[in-house]
C-alpha cells in the first residue's frame, strides 16, 4: 500500500478516535452523569448585553436530585439590581421550591471562577423539589433576568398526596441551541478533515494542475 494511502487511513483513524473521545466528554453534563442537567459543556450563559435571551428548556431532572449548572454572564448592563452579582431570588414562587448552593455569587469573589472584572462564572448545585412538574426558575445575573424551565420527574404527582411514582415519562425537549452547540463544531472539523485528506491524496504540495 502506498504511503499516501497509509497516511489517509491514519488521519481517518485519528478522526474517528477523536470523535469517539469527544462524544463521551460532551455528555458529561447529561442525565446519566448528573441527574438530568442538559447544559452541554455546562455552557448556559447570558451573552446578550443587557437583554433577557429568554427561556432555556432543560430536560427532566429526577425529583430531589442535585445537579450542577454553570452560568456565565459577561459585562451585562445593570437594569435594576446590583451589577456585579448573580443571584437566585428566593421570593419567586418556583425558585423557593428549589435549593441553590450558593444562592448568589459576587464578581471576583472566591466562588467566581472567572478572574476578569465584569465577568461572573459560577457553578451552582441545584436540588430539585420532590413534586413532579415543570418549573420556571429564574436567576438575575448582572441585571439580566434569565429563565430556565426544568421538568421534574420521578417524584410525587402534583395533584396527589400519595407517594405513587410517576409512570409516564415526561417529554424531554432538546433545544435547537443545544443541538447546534453540540454538533456545530463538526462543520469546521469536517472541513479540516476534508482538507487533510485532500492534502494527503495529492501527496502534499505538488503544485500539479488538476487538468
Amino acid at each position: 500500500m502506498s504511503r499516501s494511502r497509509w497516511l489517509t487511513i491514519l488521519i481517518l483513524a485519528a478522526v474517528i478516535v477523536g470523535i469517539l473521545a469527544y462524544a463521551p466528554a460532551s455528555a458529561r453534563a447529561f442525565p446519566q452523569n448528573d441527574h438530568g442537567c442538559y447544559c452541554h459543556h455546562s455552557g448556559i450563559g447570558m451573552w446578550v448585553n443587557g437583554t433577557d435571551i429568554g427561556i432555556v428548556n432543560l430536560a427532566n431532572v429526577n425529583a430531589g436530585a442535585t445537579f450542577h449548572l454553570q452560568i456565565r454572564s459577561v459585562d451585562v448592563a445593570a437594569t435594576g439590581v446590583v451589577p456585579g452579582v448573580q443571584v437566585w431570588l428566593s421570593n419567586l414562587t418556583d425558585n423557593s421550591k428549589f435549593q441553590f448552593s450558593p444562592t448568589q455569587v459576587t464578581d471576583n469573589s472566591a466562588q467566581d471562577l472567572n478572574s476578569t472584572t465584569g465577568t461572573i462564572t459560577a457553578v451552582y448545585a441545584i436540588t430539585a423539589p420532590l413534586t413532579n412538574g415543570r418549573y420556571d426558575i429564574e436567576i438575575t445575573a448582572q441585571g439580566v433576568v434569565f429563565d430556565i424551565s426544568i421538568g421534574v420527574q420521578g417524584g410525587t404527582s402534583a395533584t396527589s398526596t400519595t407517594t405513587t411514582q410517576s409512570t409516564s415519562p415526561p417529554a424531554t425537549p432538546v433545544s435547537l441551541y443545544s443541538l447546534v452547540q453540540q454538533y456545530g463544531p463538526y462543520l469546521p472539523l469536517a472541513a479540516i478533515v476534508l482538507a487533510a485528506i485532500h492534502f494527503v491524496r495529492r501527496k502534499g504540495w505538488t503544485g500539479k494542475s488538476p487538468w
Binding site: W47, V48, T51, D52, I53, V74, P185, A191, P210
Partner: protein, 217 residues
C-alpha cells in the same frame, strides 16, 4: 480533462486595485468581527470592556459599508458577471469537483484558464461552479447572520423575529450555526488558496497580476 505534461502559463491582470482593496478590508473587518464574536461567546477578556461595542460596530460596517461598497466595486469592475450567472453546467461542475476532491474521479472541470489571444477566460470561467454557489450561500447566510445578530442585540425592537423562529434561544442557535458554516467555508477558502495550483490566483489577490494556465485546445 486530465493532462500530465506541464501547462503553459501566462501572467494576467486578474484583479483590479479596487477589488483587492475591498477584499482585504473585508478580511480585516471579518477577522475582528469573528474575534470579538468568539470573545463574547466564550467570555474571553479580549477587547474587554468594549468587545460587544466593537462587534456591533463591525456588524454595521459590514452591513452598511463593506457589503455595499464591495458589490458596487464588483459591479463597476464587471466582476459580478463571473459570479452571479449560474448555468446548468455549474451544478454539473460542482458535482464533479466534489467527486474529484474526495478522490472518486480524476476528472476535474477546467476553470480559471486563460485564452491569451482573446484576452478572456476559457468559457468565461474566471471562477469555478463551487465558488459561484458559495457566492449565493454566503450571501444568504450573511443576511441571516445580520438578522439574527441585530435581533439579539436590539431584542425589544426586533422581538417579532425571535417570535418568528420560536424564541430567543433559537436566534442564538441560528447565529451560532451560521458562524460554524462560515468557519467551515473559511477553512476551505484558506486551504484552497494555499494549494500551489492556485498560487497565481492568490498572488493576483495581493498584487493584481498572477500567472494562470493557458487553455490547451
Amino acid at each position: 480533462m486530465v493532462k500530465t505534461e506541464p501547462q503553459a502559463k501566462v501572467v494576467v491582470q486578474r484583479q483590479t486595485p479596487a477589488i483587492i482593496a475591498t477584499h482585504w478590508v473585508h478580511v480585516a473587518v471579518i477577522v475582528t468581527f469573528i474575534a470579538t464574536g468568539l470573545s463574547t461567546y466564550f467570555g474571553w477578556s479580549l477587547f474587554v470592556p468594549n468587545t460587544e461595542t466593537i462587534h456591533i460596530a463591525c456588524a454595521f460596517l459590514i452591513a452598511f459599508v463593506d457589503f455595499p461598497v464591495h458589490f458596487f466595486v464588483m459591479w463597476k469592475e464587471k466582476e459580478l458577471r463571473y459570479l452571479v450567472i449560474l448555468k446548468k453546467q455549474d451544478f454539473v461542475d460542482v458535482w464533479q469537483q466534489v467527486l474529484n476532491f474526495v478522490g472518486l474521479t480524476k476528472s476535474y472541470p477546467e476553470h480559471a484558464t486563460y485564452l491569451p489571444l482573446k484576452s478572456e477566460y476559457y468559457l468565461g470561467k474566471k471562477y469555478c461552479g463551487f465558488q459561484k454557489l458559495l457566492f449565493y450561500s454566503d450571501l444568504g447566510c450573511i443576511i441571516l447572520f445580520g438578522i439574527t445578530g441585530f435581533s439579539m442585540y436590539y431584542s425589544t425592537t426586533f422581538s417579532f423575529v425571535a417570535n418568528l423562529v420560536g424564541g430567543a434561544p433559537n436566534l442564538l442557535a441560528l447565529h451560532l450555526l451560521i458562524f460554524y458554516y462560515f468557519t467551515a467555508t473559511l477553512v476551505g477558502h484558506i486551504y484552497l488558496s494555499l494549494v500551489p495550483a492556485n498560487w497565481g490566483r492568490l498572488r493576483a489577490m495581493v498584487l493584481g497580476k498572477g500567472s494562470l494556465e493557458v487553455h490547451a485546445e
